[in-house]
Amino acid sequence: MNALEARGLVKRYGGLVAVNDIGFDLHDGEILGLIGPNGSGKSTVMKLVMGIERPDAGSVKLDGVETVGWPSYRIARAGVGIVFQHSRPLHRQTVLENIKLALLPDSLLRLTATAGVDDRAREIADSVGLGDVLHRHPATLPFADLRRMEMAKAIARDPKVVLIDEPFAGLTGGEVETFSELIRALRAQGHAVLLVDHNVKSVAALADRVLAMYLGQQVSEGTVDEVMRNETVRRVYLGGTLEASQRNGAAAETRPSLLRVEDVSVFYGKAQALEHVDLHVNEGEFVSVVGLNGAGKTTLFNAISGLVPYAGTVAFGDHALAGRTPAAIARDGIVQCPESRQLFGDMTVRENLDLGGQHLPAEARAEQLAWLFELFPILESRQGQVARTLSGGEQQMLAIARALMMRPKLLILDEPTLGLAPVILEQLSNALERLRASTPITVLLGEQNVTFALPHADRVYLLEHARVVWEGEPAKFAAVMGEGYL
């Protein structure tokens, strides 16, 4: 019998269909990988199963019992445990007390833990390898141990089904191996495990079956090999056949350097998001940084923009940027168009653009606006519309246009294709091509979608697990990395 049976799950947020007709079976002693790029809806599926969000349609059966509509504490008690990617442990309690918490009854009258809870908590801690740090406080633990503690809490009540969100995020190679062992052990004990990950590669060695999602829909289901060979999956991740075209080839190499990133490392608490990254961009160059979600692209851009503290140097032109505020860096000419777009949702298209051009004299502003409307004709017709009501693609164009209103010396585009349908990608791609052909602008583009990133690029960096692992011309990227990227 299936431990978990999901059928026809649908979840809408306003006009956006985050999950559209997703269904799967999960048996005891089986690991199912749920994969898809950011924004594909896989985390929402997990929340629907856990009851954190309520589906608009569909059913979830746990051991044959319908659980849709139950509050998540009831689903938890019925036998579903979840390992969150980010959680806030009790910082004033020890590791042991944090695990004991998961074993407490949901009662207002039991003021003390029942006998046996202490022993059971120690047993669980040992099984995930926390035996030596029982009496430490979470704040003093290395990142991997915090993840172990979350794992311990999730399996404390011996759930039938264990949901794990991004099991390997922020872990180093060796730790990934240890965690894989822990997850295999869960399977061996008969738990049904659902792994949610953006990366096929990381769950490949672990999952018995994989279900791939894109834009809320299932694109493929089967064994790891089948899914990885699937045409649609390859297109989702790579964007189809790889093409490359260079604008000015060698010429760019001889131009003066505009941005130098040297030996930059960034930590989020205990997780290392960037490891000794070196990168440079010359004036007028179009440089693409490609890598899967979580590789560190956004962190790199945020370090350049002064939004996160880092070790190492970032130099713009001939001065270092360390110690300058994000606002000063933006005024200097490094303008970032962030992944989340950050539009002023309640303002109109025109107001958003005017705000971007606030510092320009009126004449220059009008000129810039006219040029942008030429570049993105759709925005001209939408001037009076409130930004929030634009489609995803239009919002992305507006975000880029607003950034360009600031007349940047260096434009940073972070994952502009995120969550966009293929047809919109093409429009966006054309606009970038026009931008590149008609202006001498310098662009640093971060992308997961290689097919989108390559055609425009003069040079490509590949970021993997917080490190730059490859640098070179796009034509060579297609030849060398095309197969191994996924």
Partner: protein
């Protein structure tokens, strides 16, 4: 938490109780009166900390609960003259019921709205009292025919005893298994739910306990002062003082807020020779502590070490 820490705390507690018990032998009736009020405010702040520090909900209207307890007790006493204990019990019940009726819908709200609802509740209560001035005395206030005692020493002892019992119960609760679940609910409600805890139930229970202690303390304060008025019991300013006291002493510690509140009341009184300046100086101290020691005056002392 270490055993050594517990032992130190127990020792400090016993010393405090012993010293506080023998104080009436030396201190004047005036000073005892100040301390009596201070103890009630200590209970107010502790009740508030259970909600904010543990359940993670900011209650901007502690005086709503206190006012319900105080005015219910005062109205009942004026109407039927039952024994004072009955009046206090009725006040506690009213605060409990009113608190639950307020919290049930308010806890469904997310973000800052819970706090705003509690703030509006205070204004509503304040207006209701002014509108029904015929019964409540309106803005002038109402006197109660009975008092706890006319002897300042006895009044002091009642307040001290109530304060100590409340501190033991609330502190014990915060350290119990239920307190642990409550903290988890306050810090990450989604995760607490996923661990199988009905977060709303636990928060509602915390609100009820907070309301109960606030109500009893409010009613006792009325029977100590012999009068209830909007300005001394319900005003937003009183609520702010309770909150500042809690933050000043060190939130999430229960005992810290008690000491912070006592410090505020006594400090304001000590600086009375400065005239209007006294509240200014106290507010300045509070601001400095909150800015430079966000954990509060006693946050570090009262908390077990976090980095072993």
């Amino acid at each position: 938490m270490t055993r050594a820490f517990n032992r130190r705390l127990l020792f400090a507690g016993i010393v405090f109780v012993l010293v506080a018990t023998v104080l009436p032998l030396w201190l004047s009736a005036y000073v005892l009166g100040v301390l009596t009020t201070a103890y009630y405010f200590g209970v107010f702040s502790m009740s508030w900390d259970l909600l904010f520090g543990f359940a993670g909900e900011v209650n901007f209207g502690p005086t709503f609960l206190i006012g319900l307890g105080a005015y219910t007790a005062a109205l009942l006493d004026n109407a039927y003259h039952p024994p004072v204990v009955i009046c206090i019990a009725a006040g506690a019940l009213a605060a409990l019921v009113g608190g639950v009726l307020l919290a049930l819908p308010a806890l469904r709200l997310r973000g800052p709205y819970f706090g705003l609802v509690t703030l509006v509740a205070v204004l509503l209560l304040q207006n209701a009292i002014v509108i029904f001035a015929r019964f409540t005395g309106g803005e002038i206030g109402m006197t109660v025919p009975d008092v706890l005692s006319v002897d300042p020493k006895l009044n002091y002892c009642y307040a001290l005893a109530f304060f100590v019992v409340s501190a033991i119960l609330l502190y014990g609760l915060s350290r119990s298994a239920v307190g642990l679940i409550l903290q988890a609910s306050g810090q990450d409600a989604v995760e607490a739910q996923a661990l199988g805890f009905n977060v709303t139930k636990h928060k509602l229970a915390a609100f009820s306990v907070s309301a109960l202690f606030s109500g009893v303390a409010g009613a006792m304060l009325v029977f100590y002062m012999g009068a209830a008025s909007v300005g001394t019991i319900i005003d937003i300013g009183i609520g702010v003082q309770i909150i500042i006291g809690a933050v000043l002493g060190g939130r999430r510690t229960i005992l810290g807020p008690a000491i912070g509140a006592i410090f505020l009341v006594v400090g304001t009184e000590l600086l009375r020779p400065l005239g209007q300046l006294n509240t200014f100086v106290i507010a300045g101290i509070a601001l400095a502590v909150i800015l430079f020691f966000p954990d509060g005056l006693l946050g570090h002392v009262l908390r077990p070490r976090e980095n072993t």
